[in-house]
Amino acid sequence: MFTVIEYAPLLGRGALVTISVAVLSLVLATGLGVLGAAAKLSKRGLWRSVGMGYTTIVRGIPDLVLILLIYFGGQRLVNDIGSTLGFDYIEVSKFWAGVISIGFIYGAYLSETFRGAYLTVPRGQAEAAQALGMKTIATLWKVLVPQILRFALPGYSNVWMVLVKSTAVVSVIGLSDLVGLADKAGKSTRQQFWFYLAVLLAYLFITIISEHLLKRLDKRVNRGIPA
């Protein structure tokens, strides 16, 4: 039990990797979510089917399968292309494979969140802005986006909470994140239970902190709205 405390700096480094993966994936997912939502709301049927296809495929495949596919499949693909171009063996980064996979998965969920939020904003808001002579960009930034943020926040928060827990599976491709390091340390010291318990508590801690911050953010974006 006390061995875990000796290993605290190591676990701290792991936690940092976990949080980096989570935050970077969220950034990527947000970008993909915006693109996905734009595609789904597009007037062109082709874009709409691309957007729908993205969500449908991602929602059908478990996260770990996609991570393994992107890491091992990507490794092979990169080297197949590399060898025809005459490069030596290229190592695909585990860290980025994890970030890209998780970002890709949750981008699909966020696209649905953003699309819903956009549709919740009453049409009259955009029409009123146009009637005032505002340009399209100004309408989007000054009238629609602030309201979309407000409507999207509950869904966005939920995606973040699920995404954080999803980062645990990147340890399966051998990344030294919180779970990966605790796994190694636990096996070498034969103290697995205490190490996994520490990981469990660390995730719980991240959950509690996120919940608290998101509640405050929710208050902020809803300021001025009578409850």
Binding site: I57, L64, L68, L69, F72, N158, A168, Q192, Y196, L200
Partner: protein, 243 residues
């Protein structure tokens, strides 16, 4: 991509599908049995509630992978567990996965059911009272059937979520769908074949499940269409509501 490989080893994947479905279904059933008393207790004043809330919060706030590890690898650390009768069960990866998945699903289902019970329209309970039903009868004849129907879309989500969560089993050596894919990849030293086959199989099962739930919802939620209590059914399965 060599399509012949997975076709040649179709039995490997068939067993994988069976294992995945078996684990998922059992975990959902056991999870439901856990969630029922929890949800009922959470909807009235009970001294056990802090304990139940702690359980629900712990299992919803941490990754399923770590929960499975702690039961499979973690508990094996203690000699008193290895020496006890429970070791017969706890040394088997399959049982450990089932225990972890059931506890996890139980927590999610408890939250789903608690929410549904809480939003039961007052009139339904008053109707039961007016008919002279006892509190227990109202719970079993009015509140639960009504709550379970209204929670159908969330249950559909939970089923898909559990199916996807069950891939964790392959990490602790169980030959589920993903396990079959990894075995194939390891055997022939290939990168795509096993994982792509697994992905296609998971996707197929997901869509079949979504289809089934759509039909069941159509049947059981018919009375709610156009009513103020209408349940909004999402077009595609989403994430479980955590916040």
């Amino acid at each position: 991509m060599n399509i012949a490989l997975p076709l040649k080893h179709w039995d490997l994947f068939a067993w994988g599908v069976l294992t995945t479905l078996e684990l998922t279904a059992l975990a959902l059933v056991v999870g439901f049995l856990i969630s029922l008393p929890c949800a009922l207790s959470l909807n009235r004043a009970s001294k056990l509630n802090p304990l139940i809330q702690g359980y629900v919060y712990l299992f919803r706030g941490t990754p399923l992978l770590v929960q499975t590890y702690i039961i499979y690898y973690g508990l094996a650390q203690f000699d008193f567990i290895r020496d006890s009768w429970s070791w017969v069960i706890l040394k088997e990866a399959w049982w450990c996965a089932l225990i972890a998945f059931s506890l996890n699903s139980g927590a999610y289902q408890a939250e789903i059911l608690r929410g549904a019970i809480q939003t039961t329209p007052r009139g339904e309970i008053e109707g039961g009272k007016a008919l002279g039903l006892s509190m227990r009868q109202i719970t079993w004849l009015c509140v639960l059937p009504s709550s379970l129907r209204r929670a159908l879309p969330q249950y559909g989500n939970e089923v898909v979520f559990m199916l996807h969560g069950s891939v964790v089993a392959s990490v602790i050596t169980i030959q589920d769908i993903l396990g079959a894919g990894r075995t194939l990849n390891g055997k022939y030293y290939v990168a795509y074949e096993g994982f792509l086959t697994a992905a296609v199989l998971y996707m197929t099962i997901t869509f079949i499940l979504v289809r089934i739930f759509r039909q069941v919802e159509k049947h059981y939620l018919r009375h709610l269409v156009r009513s103020p209590d209408a349940v909004k059914v999402p077009a595609v399965p989403g994430l479980p509501q955590v916040t």
